[in-house]
């Protein structure tokens, strides 16, 4: 009899704590997400974290590391800068020194390979995963780190996982419900509200603290929104502040379920795997979409792959050929609170999401740049580069001509041939060239 009482007591306690927990969650997180307001709890959290990191940095005797941020446009196609000051063209055995030196310089440090791994931090943000050269400094710091682990994994992670499930679950359910409505203004209105609400819950699931700048330039219907790509979270960050039509490949599993539900509520553009190869088909579907002014602006990431948020790499020209207004957006993450970069060759999606949800927070800034259109006499590639430069400038990122595809593939032979051509000109002068060219 007593045993039963105790069990009943325990069940009641669990029930009450669960109710309390869920009510708190509802009041402080979900309801504000629905209405798009904020109590400012996250910002307060962020401020305290900053103070903590500053203290931790002071504790560590770290001399100022030389920061080599060259935010200018590299003309990387000229390895040979000034070969010999105006001497007559002829070969010198010392010419090899230039090639040698540039080669070894690129071995010691190059502009490209480091863009595909996480950015190195100046100070330690008490996360083991960003611990490169910091060894045990003091017991106090290690204790702090231990407390950090408890907080992040014991409290923040379960909270965030709950929110994530809530957000995704609501998205699927509510968009399916909205899909039952007949097409019209009511349906669009509801769809917008539902999407925004669910993305806002997801934003809170990541404890993302986002600052939006220049919102008067937000993308409008009939346009394409382009942004630099660092992680899949970019989508959540942008879509919680505005409504977009997504573009992507059809996936299976949970992702597929979400995609199918979303497209019921409003027209997103999902491609079958086979259709992705057909560039004309892709271009046609995108053009058809932007031509219809009642449809939402398309969200595209022209780099084609995740870059580590220190630079913007080559934009693929496909989206710039369509001929509509382009709304550039620059996204810059603050790496002190958690590194949002997804190194897909190192971590899978689940691992990545776990990393995200056990970081301190995701802090980023979003700048909406003024809309741009293709100018007279400009081709798609030049237009793409112009947009890329604007995004890089605004976000404080290095503007690189290198292709993000170098993450996985080899560099094209033609670039080496250009170098050879340049050197040949130096050897024999540009006019008298008795060779095949």
């Amino acid at each position: 009899q007593e045993g039963l009482d105790i069990i009943i007591l325990i069940c009641m306690l669990l029930g009450i704590s669960f109710t309390v927990w869920f009510t708190l969650l509802l009041v402080f997180i979900i309801v504000p997400a629905i209405f798009g307001v904020s109590f400012g709890i996250r910002r307060l959290y962020m401020k305290s974290l900053i103070k903590l990191f500053e203290w931790a940095t002071l504790r560590m005797e770290r001399g100022a590391k030389e920061k080599n941020h060259h935010y200018h446009q590299h003309h990387i196609f000229t390895i040979i800068i000034t070969l010999r000051g105006g001497a007559e063209p002829e070969f010198d055995m010392s010419d090899i020194f230039y090639f040698c030196r540039r080669g070894v310089e690129s071995i010691v440090d190059d502009e490209v390979t480091k863009r595909f791994t996480a950015e190195e931090l100046e100070s330690w943000n008490l996360l083991t995963r960003s611990n490169y050269n910091f060894h045990h400094i003091s017991t106090r710091l290690t204790a702090l780190w231990g407390v950090g682990v408890l907080i992040r994994y014991g409290f923040l992670l379960p909270l965030r996982v709950t929110l994530a499930f809530t957000g995704v679950g609501l998205l699927v359910v509510l968009t399916s419900i909205v899909g039952l409505f007949p097409n019209g203004r009511m349906k669009n209105y509801l769809s917008d509200k539902v999407h925004l609400m669910c993305y806002r819950i997801c934003v809170r699931a990541l404890t993302a603290i986002i600052t939006y700048h220049d919102s008067e330039n937000k993308p409008k219907n009939g346009g394409i929104c382009v942004a630099n790509h660092t992680s899949p979270i970019d989508v959540i960050i942008l879509a919680s502040d505005g409504c977009y039509a997504m573009v992507g490949q059809v996936h299976g599993g949970l992702m597929g379920v979400i995609q199918r539900a979303m497209v019921k509520a409003c027209p997103h553009i999902w491609f079958e795997r086979s259709e992705v190869k057909d560039r004309h088909l892709v271009a046609k579907r995108l053009s058809d979409h932007v031509a219809d002014k009642s449809k939402l602006p398309i969200l595209i990431f022209p780099e084609g792959t995740c870059i580590n948020n220190t630079s913007v790499m080559m934009f693929k020209k496909g989206s710039f050929e369509i001929g509509c207004t382009v709304y550039p957006v620059a996204i810059k993450y603050d790496p002190r609170f958690g590194d949002a970069f997804w190194n897909s060759s190192k971590f899978g999606m689940v691992n990545y999401l776990l990393h995200m949800m056990s970081s301190w927070a995701i802090v980023c800034s979003v700048w909406y740049l003024p809309p741009m259109s293709r100018m007279e006499g400009e081709d798609a590639v030049q237009f793409a580069n112009r947009v890329k430069a604007a995004i890089a400038r605004k976000g404080g990122l290095a503007d690189l001509l290198w292709d993000g595809g170098l993450k996985r593939g080899k560099v094209k032979e033609v670039f080496k041939e250009e170098q050879q051509k340049l050197y040949s000109k130096v050897l024999v002068g540009s006019s008298e060239d008795g060779s095949s060219s």
Binding site: E66, N68, I76, I79, E90, F91, M93, S94, D95, I96, F97, Y98, F99, C100, R101, R102, G103, V104, E105, S106, I107, V108, D109, D110, E111, V112, T113, K114, T117, A118, E120, T128, R129, S130, N131, Y132, N133, H135, W402, L406, K410, V411, F415, K416, E417, E418, Q419, Q420, K421, Y423, S424, K425, L427, V428, D433, G434, S435, S436, S437
Partner: protein
Amino acid sequence: MGSRASSLLREEDIEEIKKETGFSHSQITRLYSRFHSLDKGENGALSREDFQRIPELAINPLGDRIINAFFPEGEDQANFRGFMRTLAHFRPVEDNEKNKDLTSGEPLNSRTNKLLFAFRLYDLDRDDKISRDELLQVLRMMVGVNISDEQLGSIADRTIQEADTNGDMCISFSEFIKVLEKVDVEQKMSIRFLH
């Protein structure tokens, strides 16, 4: 960049490398991070593919020759010691470090050793002399398809003629040094290493 990469490098190793190459402690740890980030297979050694993954090196016409310099005769893997030893050739020469704590022989970044590095780039079969054929091959790497065989041949002939003093139609290392005696090798074959 690997996490905890520096913890895989022991203090004794760092000290030995310091003595052998003249790099500072922080330079060695920094270069170890770089070595580790290039080592995609995570097996403690670099293969030729690891080097070729660097785009700026892949488009360098002499990229393959430079990569080759990091691999000892007949080997396919470059460990960290070898990596540092080769990089040491490019350390700038400082005035105050003449024979400071280096035990024997010349420092790796001496003028002679820098010239030896460049010589070995030309000397494809490692027989300590540059033949006309070898010179032609290296020239061909540098210019690609843009210069005809005859023109390239005459450039090679002229170069050998100017350098060859003992009439064997090849350039030995001492002849190489003589030809380049007026060139500021220390400056041209040095790169800046961040501390």
